[in-house]
């Protein structure tokens, strides 16, 4: 019976990825979805068993099967907790690739992932789903994309996901090269993510300024394409590969010491290019080199000798660990250290800081009730800290936390850690300016 499908299914997980699962169920304790629905079928253990049964030819892919694989938040908490070394979340992602290859394309995929994310220009014209909302209204967008009707409350929730959008995408505004203030110590290529460019422009602007203040020459290639994560999420690995090749060719010629991004999701994908292209003879080496240079902004800043700001940000601040940072990149300490460099910040840990917030990109669209339920746990933990600010270095998390703070009535400001650092530097500069008689008139 074993391995009926091995030869004809591309991307089918291999036997060693599931064979040794002892079905102990420890992963259930860490799975944010299972912990809300309490349905075994939704949990990582079932994903492993179902994958195996599919690989062994015992079952076929049904709509329910597809939904189960798409319900996974890919938060990787199961990967991290499994004592045997099984990676259930990876299996779900790989099954999405199998689904992509073997099943008719579901909604969204074609228009969004081929048309939208890969091309910066198109993406900027229609940030999903928010900018379009402002032109057409979400309901119209949803209809256009063929999604089921959105619930009224869901629409309201989505409206609260973003702060004021930038007038122009940052990609069009940010200089291609920013010189360091003072002596040049680091040559940085900055990977400007889609969401950062179009929604959280202030943050990436801050990232570049903070790096420049700290001896970095920062290059921001304008032709940058999507890192590939959304396509990976929808199982389109070929598209991910072509994006990876493009970005590698764009960045490596700049010969940067490091490639920095302030988006946790982009970072986790970029660090994977080496793995993704390891079987591509023309790119394997370049991809490995590329990935080895990638740093999250907090990881990079805490690895160089950064100058702590003198300006204050007086606030009680807590920190939410993005799944794509804490587990996918093992960056846990640096953002916390970074926040604590800022004078005036009173840092408080929240309970379960690394529990997924329920975003996972598009779950609020595709699995609204689960996404909300997972988010409630997060927001209650935020509330319990009494913090004024919750910092997190991932645009998806930020949108979800913005939504949740409104939905669950938790009075917090959601920021990227780099924004607070930037604010502190700015205060410092403003104070110096105010003190300096030569700048007055």
């Amino acid at each position: 019976m074993a391995q009926h499908r091995r030869d004809d299914i591309p991307h089918l997980p291999t036997e060693e990825q599931y064979l040794n699962c002892i079905r102990c169920g420890l992963c259930l304790s860490a799975c944010p979805i299972y912990r809300e629905t309490l349905r075994e079928t939704d949990g990582p253990r079932a994903h492993v068993v179902l994958t195996r049964k599919y690989a062994e030819g015992e079952i076929d892919i049904s709509p329910e099967f597809v939904d189960l694989m798409y319900k996974c938040l890919d938060c990787e908490a199961c990967n991290a907790i499994c004592p045997v070394g099984i990676r259930p979340a990876d299996l779900a992602m790989e099954m999405r690739q199998v689904i992509h290859k073997t099943q008719p394309q579901p909604w969204l995929k074609k228009p969004i992932f081929h048309g939208y994310f890969p091309h910066p220009l198109i993406q900027e014209l229609s940030v999903l789903p928010l900018l379009l909302y402002q032109r057409l209204g979400l309901q119209a967008l949803a209809r256009k994309l063929g999604i089921l009707k959105l619930l009224p409350r869901q629409l309201q929730d989505m409206e609260h996901m973003v702060p004021k959008l930038p007038a122009r995408p940052l990609r069009q505004v940010l200089p291609e090269e920013v010189p360091p203030a003072g002596e040049e110590k680091h040559r940085v290529a900055f990977f400007l993510g889609c969401f950062q460019s179009t929604i959280f422009a202030q943050e990436s602007e801050a990232s570049v300024r903070v790096m420049a203040r700290n001896g970095c020459r920062v290059f921001t290639p304008k032709q940058v394409k999507c890192c590939g994560m959304p396509a990976a999420g929808y199982g389109d690995i070929d598209l991910v590969k072509s994006l990876a090749r493009f970005n590698i060719d764009l960045f490596l010629p700049l010969n940067p010491d490091v490639i920095v991004t302030d988006c946790a999701t982009c970072g986790s994908t970029l660090k994977h290019y080496g793995e993704i292209l390891k079987d591509d003879p023309a790119y394997a080496e370049k991809a490995a080199l590329f990935s080895s240079r990638v740093r999250d902004i907090s990881e990079f800043l805490m690895s160089i000798d950064i100058r702590p700001p003198k300006g204050e940000v007086r606030a009680r601040v807590t920190y939410h660990d993005p799944c794509h940072l804490v587990r996918a990149q093992k960056v846990r300490k640096q953002p916390r250290d970074l926040l604590q460099l800022i004078p005036g910040v009173e840092f408080v840990e929240m309970k379960e800081s690394d529990w997924c917030c329920g975003s996972a990109g598009t779950q609020i669209l595709t699995h609204y009730h689960n996404s909300l339920a997972v988010n409630r746990r997060k927001m209650e933990n935020v509330r319990a800290t009494g913090a004024d600010i919750v910092a997190t270095g991932c645009p998806g998390c930020q949108m979800q936390l913005n939504m949740g703070s409104n939905h669950y009535n938790v009075n917090v400001r959601v920021v990227h850690p780099i924004q607070l650092l930037e604010e502190a530097y700015r205060r410092e500069e403003a104070e110096i300016a105010a003190d300096d008689p030569s700048t007055g008139d």
Binding site: I22, R39, I59
Partner: protein, 461 residues
């Protein structure tokens, strides 16, 4: 197959979304933590005792077998629905109904995850001691149905020592309450204890009254290393004779140590014959420290080559991480493991381990031995690949020999995992025909139609 009209009825009781029967659902509720599997026809997830009762009434009327299920972490295939029919999934019943601080008694629903419950009472300075290694992925109901134990049971006892009363539903749907908040109670037969360890064969447990303790404020953990297994075994008794009752004395043999070390790199002594992990705890720091000093001294006197006392909480957690990871790290070596759970008199531990090693050599299958040395409950785990029919055949022979050995040494088949179906072939060896018949008789009183978890714990009459 459950008839559509019955499905409809069930849906009106628990809600449509809590009656599952897609092929994916049937697969997800077909397994536990063994390698066994069998699909049910339907999964029903009630929200409270009342719903359980109504669901069971229907099942009784329609002659549908019912298998209660917690989180499916069982190691005896006791929750596998071989009979088809209905899996009664209790995980939605996860409320802590009351924590009575004055009487130190909690009332909980059966589906509460044990670790969640423990964390909640500990926040109030209280303590629920039973600590099966599966604490994060098993339920109070499952713990009661299996009478789960854990490392701490040397000092604190097992689940049954903490259950004062139960609410349960009989197969015909009748709701019963046993015991109560009174600590002393001899009014009538002790049905509470009869249901403890009954593996879901007599009644479905829906709520429990659990006894709590004050939380010990201090704990000290040490690892004692031995070149000779006998010395490790001697240590256990010597410590108790000194008047110290450690919370735990856990034993790992050389194969276990090497298996953990290979994967976790904790710096365990890979050339040792055995190690003991010993923890003392209590509410007075000086006493705990003094007890640990005694433990360390006695261990050395008994021949320990090294005794390391954890100095920080982090070091202590590392020691425990090693112990808790034993079972799963084994799975990294071979695709399957069969974890046995024999229990022998304490003094027979070294002999039992020696015989297990001989059995391992005889059948050429790796067996790792670890367990609760304080009470003689050992977990010999046989590592194998079930896809190889010859290996599987040898596993069965190994099991038979291990059980025979345990009984011969004055012990028994299972200390805490339960009989389920996996250990039934050896039941007569341990209990004898008369006792089995008596138990079948008791089952008949509770479950005349034989619908509740049929064929588990003992053969159907």
């Amino acid at each position: 197959m459950i008839e559509p009209r019955v499905v409809k009825e069930l849906e009106t009781i628990v809600g449509k979304e809590h009656v599952l029967s897609s092929p994916e659902d049937l697969i997800a509720y077909s397994y536990d933590s063994t390698f066994e599997e069998h699909r049910p026809d339907i999964i029903v997830s009630p929200a409270n005792t009342e719903e359980v009762s109504r669901v069971m009434r229907i099942a009784y009327r329609e002659n549908i077998p019912i298998v209660p299920r917690g989180m499916g972490s069982g190691l005896a295939a006791a929750s596998i629905p071989y009979s088809g029919g209905m899996v009664l999934n209790l995980t939605r019943m996860n409320r802590i109904l009351e924590i009575d601080q004055e009487n130190m008694i909690a009332t909980v629903e059966a589906g509460v995850v044990t670790a969640d419950f423990q964390a909640t009472v500990e926040e109030m300075g209280l303590f629920y001691p039973p600590d099966p290694s599966s604490i994060k992925h098993s339920t109070i109901g499952g713990n009661i149905a299996c009478n789960a134990g854990g490392p701490r049971c040397l000092k604190y006892g097992v689940t049954s020592d903490y259950v004062l009363g139960l609410t349960a539903v009989l197969p015909n749907g009748d709701i019963i309450k046993t015991g109560g908040k009174a600590i002393k109670n001899v009014t009538g037969l002790n049905l509470t204890q009869l249901l403890l360890g009954s593996e879901g064969t007599l009644a479905v447990i829906t709520e429990a009254l659990l006894r709590l303790m004050p939380k010990p404020k201090y704990a000290r953990t040490a690892m004692a290393v031995y070149a000779d297994l006998d010395d490790a075994a001697k240590t256990v008794n010597a410590i108790l004779l000194e008047g110290v009752v450690p919370a735990t004395i856990e034993l790992m043999d050389d194969t276990t140590i090497n298996t953990i070390e290979e994967y976790l790199h904790l710096g365990l002594p890979t050339d040792a014959a055995a190690i003991l992990i010993i923890e003392t705890d209590g509410s007075d720091e000086q006493t705990v420290l003094r007890e640990m000093e005694t433990v360390a001294r006695v261990a050395r006197e008994c021949g320990a080559t090294d005794v390391r006392v954890a100095k920080t909480e982090a070091e202590r957690n590392e020691l425990w991480r090693g112990r808790r990871s034993v079972s799963p790290s084994l799975a990294r070596r071979r695709p399957n493991k069969l974890g046995e759970d024999i229990s022998v008199p304490r003094s027979a531990i070294p002999e039992a381990i020696r015989r297990i090693k001989a059995i391992s050599a005889k059948y050429n299958l790796p067996i790792v031995v670890f367990g609760h040395a304080g009470d003689g409950n050992l977990h010999p785990n046989i590592l194998f690949d079930k896809r190889d029919p010859d290996e599987w055949h040898r596993v069965e022979q190994v099991s038979a020999e291990i059980f025979g050995m345990a009984v011969e040494l004055g012990g028994t088949l299972t200390g805490e995992h339960g009989v389920g179906v996996l250990k039934q072939p050896y039941l007569e060896l341990a209990l004898g025909q008369t006792v089995i018949a008596l138990q079948q008789g008791i089952k008949k009183v509770f479950d005349p139609k034989g619908l509740l978890n049929p064929g588990k714990k003992f053969p159907a009459a």
